[in-house]
């Protein structure tokens, strides 16, 4: 797992992907932090994460997950991984870890403006950190889903667009809930809505059920990805 995570991290930063991802992400954060400065109140910092974050996830996460397995399947380098004496799950988690660390590094860098603001003001750090934690968890879940979609196809484009679609659905579906009259359906929509799971964090509420939800999504999709990789053995 360590070897694969290391190799994947290297791959992100040997190719432009890692830099484009981090750069664009920080650019978008910079834009919203500018607005915080214009409002002249550090209370708005968690809002940076609540409003912009969904867009960043939607647009940028597919970029780091699209290549994880598609590329290997296309170049047949998966043959090297699957015939090495390592379990399929450790391949999946190695890849997941690398994508997650790339994402986490960029997200951590996005806190720099908040740190600087601390010198001039007193932002509500517990709330900011709670938001940060929520972002990490939600991102982890979406990365696991993206990796799974990447394992379904040899085409990176298909993987990216597919992940984009699913991510968008999961993040925006909550907006429908108020217009649904059927309560069972409404509950279901609220249940799968990543946004309604994530928003409490931005208000400083550490929601244990959301933590469990996001971690379960990671586990389920890691499992599914491993099954998918193994499925060719049974095909």
């Amino acid at each position: 797992m360590k070897a694969i995570a290391k190799k994947e991290l290297k791959a992100y930063f040997l190719s432009p992907i890692g830099y484009v991802f981090t750069g664009v992400m920080l650019l978008l954060f910079g834009f919203f932090y500018t607005q915080v400065l214009l409002y002249q109140s550090s209370d708005y910092i968690p809002d940076v994460y609540s409003s912009i974050f969904t867009w960043i996830m939607m647009i940028l996460l597919p970029i780091i997950t699209m290549r994880t397995f598609s590329e290997e399947i296309r170049t047949k380098s998966d043959q090297g991984l699957l015939t090495a004496p390592v379990g399929v799950l450790s391949i999946v988690f190695g890849k997941f870890l690398a994508a997650f660390l790339t994402f986490a590094a960029a997200l951590t860098a996005s806190l720099v403006p908040a740190v600087i603001i601390t010198f001039f003001s007193a932002p509500d750090w517990p709330k900011i950190l709670c938001t940060f934690l929520g972002s990490l968890l939600c991102g982890a879940a979406l990365i696991a889903i993206g990796n799974f979609i990447s394992s379904l196809t040899q085409s990176q484009i298909v993987a990216a667009i597919g992940t984009f679609g699913i991510t968008m659905m999961l993040l925006l579906v909550g907006q429908l809930s108020s217009s649904i009259s059927n309560t069972a359906l409404q509950n279901l929509v609220n249940w799968i809505s990543f946004d309604s799971r994530y928003q409490p964090f931005t208000k400083g509420i550490f929601n244990l059920s959301s933590v469990v939800f996001f971690l379960s999504v990671v586990a389920v999709f890691a499992f599914l990805t491993a099954r998918k990789l193994e499925s060719r053995r049974w095909g």
């Binding site: 290391k6 991984l81 095909g235």
Partner: protein, 328 residues
């Protein structure tokens, strides 16, 4: 070392492999031979655990590839048809990655240096794999299989894309490796297998059709006929008749005039009789100069073509039309 039992692989209706069994002892080089699409790569992919069999089992050094996949895989170095390379890495980075992936415990620097020297990639050690030629990539693929010094090496068409000098180098390398490794290499090039293998397994259409040493295959499994091709100077009709009268001759074919007054004849003789001496006697008596005489033994190539039969040509024709049909 390798126990393959009753291996079958089904893709829907299509039987890619049916009931293949063989076992390979230690320190042998086995050539896996067959026309394209015969099931060579499928067998290798099953042995290495990349795909599973529909039926049957594989054990490496006593470890079943399904029950103890990691123990079995630890003992195998695999070089697939397309080497599993990452083109955005340098050779050094890639080999280090494979070293870590395989959890090798040998001293890293020394081990990698030895392998690079063995497959002659030391001069490209710091180059990006993307910039390497096909021959070098192929050798990096071979290096990757050798990392960790596994006792079993499975090489799928290891010399494809190499120049003639490199082919000879790689063949010698495989021969040397065969002294303390169990090697299975696939190929559809006969002379290659003949040059390196102690034993040849021929598959065709997913079935094992022959298994033996090159010598056994060349000399066994045939009707025991012998063939002579002779050039004699003399009136062709008389010559033919005289040749047919030799004891043990089954048939004589006249290939026609090759030089003025000289015809070429092919003589089929019953096995066990040497036709050369009586032939000389008759020719001497009639003063027909023998200008050439060659005995055409059944070569491995003939054996191969005979075993894989006419399907070889028709299969390839089918493949070509498939390719022009735009199928991937």
């Amino acid at each position: 070392m390798i126990e393959v039992k009753n291996l079958s692989k089904r893709y829907g209706e299509n039987m890619a492999l049916s009931h293949v069994s063989f076992s390979v002892g230690e320190n042998t080089v086995v050539g896996f031979l067959g026309p394209n699409g015969a099931g060579k790569s499928t067998t290798m992919n099953i042995i290495t655990g990349y795909i599973s069999a529909s039926e049957g089992s594989v054990a490496i050094d006593g470890f079943n590839t399904l029950d103890d996949p990691n123990e079995a895989k630890k003992r195998i170095g695999y070089m697939p048809e397309i080497p599993p390379l990452y083109v955005d890495m340098t050779v050094k980075e890639y080999l280090n990655f494979v070293y870590e992936l395989k959890k090798v415990t040998l001293p890293r620097e020394k081990h990698l240096r030895e392998i690079c020297a063995l497959v002659r990639i030391t001069d490209v050690y710091n180059r990006l794999i993307a910039n390497l030629s096909k021959g070098y990539r192929q050798r990096v693929g071979l290096a990757q299989a050798l990392i960790g010094n596994p006792p079993v090496l499975i090489l799928d068409e290891p010399t494809v894309g190499l120049d003639p000098k490199q082919i000879i180098e790689v063949r010698n390398l495989i021969k040397n490796l065969g002294k303390n490794h169990t090697v299975i290499l696939s190929s559809h090039i006969l002379p290659e297998v003949q040059a390196v293998a102690d034993r040849i397994i021929i598959v065709n259409r997913g079935r094992l059709v022959a298994d033996g040493t090159p010598f056994e295959l060349e000399h066994g499994g045939q009707s025991g006929e012998q063939k002579l091709v002779v050039r004699l100077e003399g009136a062709s009709r008389e010559v033919e008749q005289a040749l047919k009268s030799i004891h043990g001759v089954l048939a004589v074919r006249n290939f026609g005039q090759k030089e003025p007054g000289v015809c070429e004849y092919e003589i089929d003789g019953r096995g066990g009789t040497d036709l050369r001496r009586p032939l000389f006697g008759i020719a001497a008596k009639r003063s027909w100069p023998i200008l050439s005489m060659t005995s055409s033994e059944l070569s491995l190539e003939d054996v191969f073509l005979r075993l894989t039969g006419s399907t070889y040509l028709s299969d390839n024709a089918g493949k070509d039309s498939e390719r022009t049909g735009g199928k991937r």
